[in-house]
Structures are given as structure tokens and as C-alpha cells.
């Protein structure tokens, strides 16, 4: 190799190394004079709402010229893997999204900055008080509520009409639902669809009038008679009015496609499905879920500041804007991107008249009887334990009572170990 060639090679290598070690746009420390950059990590924006989030950021940056917001997204399935690793490596994003189910563990581990100081200087009355309280621990505001969504009963009006059955109403009971489901099942149509898993169970338990934990929160009580009734209600469906796990066969979005094809009369699912059902060729609507005791699943997401954030004040300002500004409320409503956690429902009155479904106000019924998921520090293990127990019972391997007893004993352990 000639000397010139060697020099060229060495130069190329140096350039390559420099390029290889160059930071990307999300982590470059290049805030121009006086400006601060806030990193925001989110799972709920991608893939469908990136443009909406961008709109909110533009509005925020216009109102706060000294702050730039950079966004990083990850799909929900991988979001927490990435977030936890970043926190472990001391490179947590300044601000990040969190669902209520994981909030408790993050709060207990000291992974959330206390926002009380900033909040004290601020008027937080725009937020619904209940959702604000959800993210308080020991009197400290550790996150701001960002959005909520509710689970309702979706139903295919055409199928009900064809069968000559009255449409479900807000005062329906479980028995009425089952009776209608049985009549609607047949000829390639299923009457009902409700997955057998933790989130359906905790809600069914509340609907049966039971409690998941003892009052002091130290013991699992879901193996009560109400728990058995709730489990039985869920397990009665597959194989009678709903396809079995074997029939679903791991097909992704099986229930969504079934409903879209007009082959499903009733469907327990969340308001996040509204956008996807815009163009279905039949009439459909929603109603608050049938139950002996009204109880609805309401899921809340929050946003938090990392304790290591360089500019906590700016970070707080950004989160405040992201969660409760008019721009955000309007953007969320226009794009059916969950709902803003505001005290005054008038702020999003337009949302309810958008239709379909016509009865969007059922969401308010659900909120009125909202029951949040039970949460502990070892949340995921608890969820898996309960779901597994239900599956054992569904497969007939264990009687319902015993499956729930075993699961409750395991959950007691998890509560103790945390």
C-alpha cells in the first residue's frame, strides 16, 4: 500500500469514526443560547397521532419561544423496556408518559420528580379533581393526568333489529345481556365478545359488588363469592355466545374484524375503537356496560418529569400545556385521540355530537361509575397471575373457586414482597 493510500485510508477511518460517534438529533446537546430542550417520550402518539402531537408541540413552542421539545416514540409493547433501560442507565427522558397501572411502581421507586412545588404556583382547577388525585402519593403530585378512555358495550343495531330484539340500554343486567347474546348467536354470528383476562375480571368483580383488595390494601379479596360470580360470568361466554380461544386461533384483531364484518352483535371494548369503525356498512352504537352494580373500566394515562431533568420548570410547563391546554383538548377531540382529563366537560362538548356512535355520552355514564384497575408495585406479575388463574378455570383444569384462591394467595405474597 502506498503512503498516499494509507493516509487516505486513515483519513476515511477517522471520518467514519467521527460520524459513528456523532449523537443523533434527539440527544445532541446543542440548545442555542438561552434555549432549553425538553425530551418527551411517549407510547400513545405512534403510529396514528404523530401529526397531532406535532401540532400541540408547535403551539407550545410558539407560546414558549425559549423551550424546544423533542419527541421520542416507541410502540406500547416495547415502551417500558426502553424507558426502564434509559432510567437504569441514568439517561431518562426529561418527561415521559406513563399509564396508571405502572404509576405505582414508578412512584415507589423514586423514578418520578415531585411536581408539588410547581403545582402550588399554578391553578390546577382545570383538571378533574379525581384524576389529579389519582397521581398523588403521600400528598405529593408525582404526575399530571394526560388522557383517559373508557370501556363500553358496542353493539350492532342491524343484528338486533333483524332478530327483533330491543337495543341494550344503560340499565341492562348481566342476565339480559346473556339472554340477548344467546338469541343473537348462530348462522355465523356471535352474540357477544369479552376477553377472559385481568382487566375484564377486576371490572366484572366491581360490577358484581365485590372488592379486589381488603380495605387496608394488604390482602387480595377477589376470591369472594362475588369474585366467583364475576369469573363465572366471563367464563360462561366462550363456546356459547362467543368463539373459544381455539377458534380464535391466535388471529390478531379477531374480534375487531368480526365486528367490522357484521358478525358480532355485542362487543366489550374501548372508545379507542371509534376511529376504526367510521366506515362500517351497518348501524352501531355504544352503551355503558350491563351490570348488577354499575361499574366501568376507565383507563388513565399520565405524564411525569424525571428527577434528573435539567430544567424541571420548563418540563412542568410543557406537561401542563400538553395535558390541559385548549389546543390539546381541541386536537384530541378532532382526532378521536382519547379524552383530555378536564374538569369541565364543556371543554370537549363537540366530541359528543360527532357520531357515530350517536350515544357518545355513554362515556360520561362510564366516568360516573368509573372503577380504576387495582394496582400494586408488582403489577405485571399480579395481572399475569389473575389471567392465568382464569385461563386454568376456563380450560376446566381447576375449579373456579380453587383457581381464585390460589391466585389470591400468590397476590398476597406479591403485596408483601413489594
Amino acid at each position: 500500500m502506498s503512503r498516499g493510500l494509507k493516509a487516505t485510508a486513515a483519513f476515511a477511518l477517522a471520518v467514519l469514526l467521527a460520524a459513528g460517534c456523532a449523537k443523533g438529533s434527539a440527544t445532541r446537546e446543542s440548545a442555542p443560547d438561552g434555549k432549553s430542550t425538553i425530551r418527551y417520550f411517549t407510547f400513545s402518539a405512534a403510529p396514528d397521532h404523530l401529526a397531532d402531537l406535532d401540532k400541540i408541540i408547535k403551539a407550545f413552542e410558539a407560546a414558549n419561544p425559549s423551550v424546544t421539545v423533542t419527541v421520542e416514540t416507541a410502540p406500547y409493547a416495547d415502551y417500558f423496556t426502553k424507558l426502564q433501560t434509559a432510567i437504569a442507565g441514568n439517561t431518562a427522558p426529561d418527561t415521559f408518559e406513563l399509564n396508571y397501572e405502572s404509576f405505582v411502581a414508578y412512584a415507589a421507586s423514586g423514578a418520578l420528580a415531585d411536581l408539588s412545588g410547581e403545582a402550588a404556583k399554578d391553578d390546577l382547577s382545570v383538571y378533574a379533581a379525581k384524576s389529579l388525585d389519582t397521581f398523588k402519593r403521600d400528598g405529593r403530585q408525582l404526575a399530571l393526568p394526560a388522557s383517559y378512555s373508557a370501556v363500553l358495550l358496542f353493539y350492532n343495531k342491524d343484528l338486533f333489529d333483524k332478530a327483533g330484539l330491543p337495543h341494550p340500554t344503560a340499565d341492562w343486567t348481566w342476565d339480559q345481556e346473556m339472554a340477548a347474546a344467546k338469541k343473537l348467536t348462530g348462522k355465523g354470528v356471535y352474540g357477544d365478545f369479552q376477553p377472559v383476562q385481568f382487566f375484564e375480571f377486576y371490572k366484572a368483580l366491581a360490577q358484581a359488588g365485590g372488592a379486589f383488595f381488603s380495605d387496608d390494601g394488604k390482602r387480595a379479596t377477589f376470591n369472594s363469592p362475588q369474585g366467583v360470580a364475576a369469573a363465572k360470568h366471563l367464563l360462561d361466554k366462550p363456546g356459547t355466545v362467543m368463539p373459544t380461544v381455539a377458534q380464535i386461533g391466535g388471529t390478531p384483531d379477531y374480534d375487531t374484524n368480526l365486528f367490522k364484518q357484521g358478525k358480532l352483535a355485542m362487543w366489550h371494548n374501548g372508545i379507542w375503537q371509534f376511529a376504526g369503525l367510521k366506515d362500517v356498512p351497518f348501524q352501531w352504537d355504544v352503551v355503558v356496560e350491563p351490570a348488577p352494580v354499575k361499574a366501568s373500566a376507565v383507563f388513565t394515562n399520565a405524564v411525569a418529569v424525571s428527577p434528573g431533568a435539567k430544567n424541571p420548570a420548563a418540563a412542568y410547563k410543557w406537561l401542563r400545556f400538553l395535558t390541559a391546554s385548549d389546543v390539546t383538548a381541541r386536537t384530541r377531540i378532532d382526532s378521536s385521540w382519547e379524552l383530555p382529563p378536564l374538569a369541565d366537560a364543556k371543554a370537549y362538548a363537540g366530541y359528543f355530537d360527532q357520531g357515530p356512535p350517536a350515544n357518545r355520552r355513554a362515556i360520561l355514564d362510564a366516568v360516573a361509575s368509573a372503577t380504576s384497575p387495582p394496582v400494586i408495585v408488582r403489577q405485571q406479575e399480579m395481572q399475569d397471575t389473575v389471567t392465568k388463574a382464569l385461563e386454568q378455570a376456563a380450560a376446566g383444569k381447576t375449579p373456579i373457586q380453587k383457581a381464585l384462591d390460589d391466585a389470591a394467595a400468590k397476590v398476597d405474597e406479591l403485596i408483601k414482597q413489594a
Binding site: 437504569a88 386461533g249 391466535g250 388471529t251 405485571q380 376456563a394
Partner: protein, 324 residues
């Protein structure tokens, strides 16, 4: 391990006792010491490019995980020293042993299938000339298709009530099993899908090995009256033994770490517990359950198992592997 280490020892004894210390013996120690330095430099030249990155980016993190295994840690909070507590807990946990059992079963089912199938494909391909490129490409397609898609397809084929496989079985009067939804058949379902996907991988390795089988030797054997089976048994198979040895060792190492396959086929399904494997537990403990200390301890237990199996395999292979 190295069958030929005694073959050439160019200058092993040259340095002798006198040349061992640096700078002792003014004149005579010169040349041997320089040779020694040169030899060391040669070894470094060949090994350092891989050794340095392996130390930095694999061994250092390995040491890190060993350190983590002595702590209780959920990634987002502080670490708490527990000594060997995680190991004690992991070894007492019935789930560990069940997962290890499932992993072993997986290897026992997967390895023969994939080796015999891959060898069959490689031999058949080695016999034909027309369309060879096309066939190779087609057989390699499953290898490069993502597990997410492969799992979707196999779950659909092995759907207990609507799947093609059970419908075909019904034609011959057999009632098909519940496949990946049943405790007994979940692991076999994964094995079938994994073997199908990896056939092409094994085929490629064995094809590279088969290129080294001299056609003259086979021809000579044919002239001597050896039949196809005898030629295969006494010429091809021995010449293929290094490739076979490699496939066995590597498939065992990766088989003990089987993860994606099981995760996409059965996790979240009704037979998830019945088919749980070691690394699936490691993943869940790390990223879902926030029990990184337990996950690390479990990984080191798995490491010891794999190391033991590999060392035994390599020892045994000295007896039957033939490096021409």
C-alpha cells in the same frame, strides 16, 4: 479440543530456561527473545481485533450482570444487596425447574428434526444442478422471515378447530390435538415451527461442508461397488463430521436460549405456562416484572448448564470428528 496441536511446534521450546527473564544474559538471549516477542505480536495481530471488542462489549457486561445477580433491582429504583439470595430463591422456585425441563425437551425434539431435515435438503440440493439457486433461495426464505409473521402463519395452520393440519388429519380419521392451545402439544407445536424455520440455516452450513467432499472419492467408491447408503455412511458423513459437530454445538447453545419462538407462539395463550422456557423467564423477570437480580441469577444458572453441556460435547467430539 484442537486435534492437531501436537502437529507443528515450531519454536515452543526454543526460548529455554535462559531466555525467560527480560534482559538477562546479554548476547545469547537476543534472537530467541526477539522471536518470542515476534510470536506474541503475531498472536496479538490475529486475536486482538476480536478479543478486545469481546472483552469490552461482552465480558464486561457479563461481569456487570454477575454483579447485578447479587442484588435486588427493578431498573428504575435503587439496588439492594442480597448476596446469594437471588440464587437461593431461583433454585427453590418450581418455575425454574419446569422452564429448564421445557428447554431441554425443546432441544431434544428440535435438534434431530432440524439436523436430519437440513441434511436431507443439503444432500438433495447437492445432487441436482438445474434450478439449484432457486431452490436454495426458497428454502432460505423461512430463515429470513420474521418470527412475528412465522408465528401468525403456524398458529393458523395449527389452529385446533379451523387449521389445515387438523382438517387433513380428520380426512384420515385422526382427531387432531389442540396444538399450541393445549398443555401437551404446545411445545411440539413450537418445535415443528422452529424446525421448519431453521431447516434452511442448517442446510446452508451443511452445504458449505458438502462442498469439501471430493467427488473423486465418491466416484472411486462407486466403482468399487459401494451402494448409495455405504457411500453416504463411509465417505460423506465422516467428511461432514466437522460441520455436524459445529451444528450440534451451536444448536445446543442457541437451543438453551430459545426465546422468540416460544414467546410469539404460546406466550399469552392458554398453554403459556406449560411451554415456558428459560430465557422467556429471563425476559419477563427483567423487563416485565422488574426483577433484574433474579433474571441475572437465572441467566448465570443457565450459563453453567450450557457450559457443562458444551464442554461434554466438545470432549466427546474428539472421538468422532474428523478434520481430514
Amino acid at each position: 479440543m484442537t486435534a492437531r496441536t501436537t502437529g507443528t511446534r515450531p519454536d515452543a521450546g526454543h526460548a529455554g530456561p535462559s531466555g525467560s527473564g527480560p534482559g538477562d544474559g546479554p548476547v545469547p538471549a537476543g534472537p530467541p527473545r526477539r522471536a518470542k516477542v515476534r510470536k506474541a505480536a503475531t498472536v496479538l495481530l490475529f486475536l486482538a481485533p476480536s478479543a478486545v471488542p469481546l472483552v469490552l462489549f461482552t465480558l464486561v457486561p457479563m461481569a456487570g450482570s454477575l454483579w447485578v445477580s447479587l442484588h435486588e433491582w427493578n431498573l428504575i429504583g435503587a439496588m439492594r444487596w442480597t448476596g446469594l439470595g437471588n440464587y437461593a430463591g431461583i433454585l427453590r422456585d418450581g418455575d425454574t425447574w419446569r422452564a429448564l425441563g421445557n428447554t431441554t425437551l425443546y432441544i431434544a425434539g428440535y435438534l434431530p428434526l432440524v439436523y436430519v431435515g437440513g441434511l436431507g435438503l443439503a444432500m438433495a440440493l447437492n445432487r441436482v444442478t438445474r434450478g439449484r439457486d432457486l431452490f436454495r433461495a426458497v428454502y432460505f426464505l423461512p430463515v429470513i422471515t420474521s418470527w412475528v409473521v412465522v408465528a401468525l402463519i403456524w398458529k393458523w395452520l395449527l389452529n385446533p378447530s379451523e387449521g389445515i393440519v387438523n382438517k387433513l388429519l380428520a380426512v384420515i380419521g385422526v382427531e387432531g390435538p389442540g396444538w399450541w392451545t393445549s398443555d401437551a402439544w404446545a411445545l411440539p407445536s413450537v418445535i415443528i415451527a422452529a424446525a421448519w424455520k431453521d431447516l434452511g440455516f442448517v442446510m446452508v452450513i451443511l452445504l458449505a461442508g458438502l462442498q469439501a467432499v471430493p467427488a473423486e472419492a465418491l466416484e472411486a467408491a462407486r466403482v468399487d461397488g459401494a451402494n448409495a447408503w455405504q457411500r453416504f455412511r463411509h465417505i460423506t458423513l465422516p467428511l461432514l463430521s466437522p460441520s455436524t459437530a459445529f451444528v450440534l454445538v451451536i444448536s445446543c447453545i442457541s437451543g438453551f436460549q430459545v426465546f422468540d419462538q416460544v414467546y410469539v407462539m404460546t406466550s399469552g395463550g392458554p398453554a403459556a405456562a406449560a411451554s415456558e422456557v428459560m430465557v422467556e423467564r429471563v425476559y419477563d423477570l427483567t423487563f416485565r416484572y422488574g426483577r433484574v437480580g433474579d433474571a441475572s441469577a437465572l441467566s448465570w444458572v443457565l450459563f453453567l448448564v450450557i457450559l457443562l453441556v458444551t464442554v461434554v460435547q466438545v470432549r466427546l467430539q474428539r472421538r468422532w470428528v474428523n478434520y481430514g
